[in-house]
Subunit: 307 residues, 2 copies
Amino acid sequence: MSFDSLQEKIIQKKNPAVAGLDPRPEQIPPHILKEAYGRYGETLEGAAQAVWQFNQGLMDALCDVVPAVKPQAAYYERLGWHGMAVLERTIAYAKEKGLFVIADIKRGDIGSTAQAYADAWLGETQVGGAAHAAFGVDCVTLNGYMGSDTVEPFVETCKRYGKCLFLLAKTSNPGSGELQNLTAGEKKVYQLLGDMAEKLGADTQGKYGYGLAGAVTGATYPEELSELRARLPHTFFLVPGYGAQGGTAQDVQHAFDNHGRGAIVNASRSIMCAWQKTGRDGLDYQEAARAAAEEMRDAIGAYVTIR
Amino acid sequence: MSFDSLQEKIIQKKNPAVAGLDPRPEQIPPHILKEAYGRYGETLEGAAQAVWQFNQGLMDALCDVVPAVKPQAAYYERLGWHGMAVLERTIAYAKEKGLFVIADIKRGDIGSTAQAYADAWLGETQVGGAAHAAFGVDCVTLNGYMGSDTVEPFVETCKRYGKCLFLLAKTSNPGSGELQNLTAGEKKVYQLLGDMAEKLGADTQGKYGYGLAGAVTGATYPEELSELRARLPHTFFLVPGYGAQGGTAQDVQHAFDNHGRGAIVNASRSIMCAWQKTGRDGLDYQEAARAAAEEMRDAIGAYVTIR
């Protein structure tokens, strides 16, 4: 699905926030871990089973509050193929629940390999005369360090399947400026990557004015966020760094256009781990996650009116 | 295993080449596909089974000619979790055969997520009281666009488990110069990433003088290759772009130090698809791959003497 579809879900739920699904074992309630380990042992399969139970419960609790989920591939890869199988199940379940799915994969590679990644995540894999969607998400994050020729296969696949992507521009981590804030040629590096997104998405703007190539720009750098919003009028933003990393509702308001559109803010730990603050050992993890998601929605809503 | 171990295998086999395992279905001999599809259907499982048969046959044929293999994650991800399971099997089999394994994953992410990737590929995943290696390769490729703080978790994991990594510097694709050849601050961007590798690997030099952080620099840009060799005396190089992409033995000679050490050259299609040139429908894919690997070894050997 395209950014039109994401924007519609955001408008419908009046919530421009995506719930990260980055399940670390220490963030999963003890009763879920206990049951999974009891059944499958302290194995990668056991851990994957716990992740699945947790993700499913979170999505049940969140699906009418948030428009989208963002599984982070690393937390599934660390469980080997069992983790990847649970990632497939998680994606399928999210779609059943009407959630838009952004796979946070940050991939990037040369032409034919980029095409293989695009097939894997956004398109389909041809097997003899049949075609199968391996992960089949709506949107991915990509790293454009290797050049726009390495992003183009993803763009073509997005066009063909009606999907979209986010290119890393200014990331939320403390060291992001080391390369991204240098001036290279006439621009800063993060501007260059932002411009690459704007250019790759040209002529694909949907009803809300956004092309299929979005950009990642962190809540932890509100100045760059404002500047990129003005610079890239057709580029949808994914804004990480809210909550645990320090970004606030006040910071992220600059990501949105005058209609309160064009951006989605990620929160992972603050929603997934909300149960750790209620003193009930995670038995209330669903209610806690839902309350945290509503709180975040309202906090952003104080600064951003979505029309 | 560290670059010492890779260098030893290179010296032992007198071959500084790594065989890429990037199996696209059209590159797998028809008799292997036919058998796998016959048994599992034209499914992702069937395709994964064909990949496994092909990889195993290739490694049987190549294991006393090449020191290392480099599976490219994209070609496994496109087969979903079935593909990832075959990737695990491929890695385990390569290790049984004494091959050094470089996973070409080009990952990169912020701190805690980078740690999850490092656990997945180089270290171990803690599950309750147990620790499991999910993929357990010797070495990975990484993308440092997000800054050195995002590479450090991998460096720490390499130190702990005696492993190593390659950071993308100057990649082999046509558009790599778009960002990488710009002058950012006082350096070109690819120099900056090369310097990041040299710095991250400082104080970890093994018996051949190379630290745990290597760099990727393409055979298709021999000038940058020579320049980086002189600039980064303690940085081991992974050199893609040989063969199908246009890099020659003459080009790659510049990657090596005066002892013919410090670099490994990748070839994927020229070895995997050698059977397509012999007119025997792939029934001879093992002999063809082995002959192509020997030819490549000898071609590089005409320019580089490994001591």
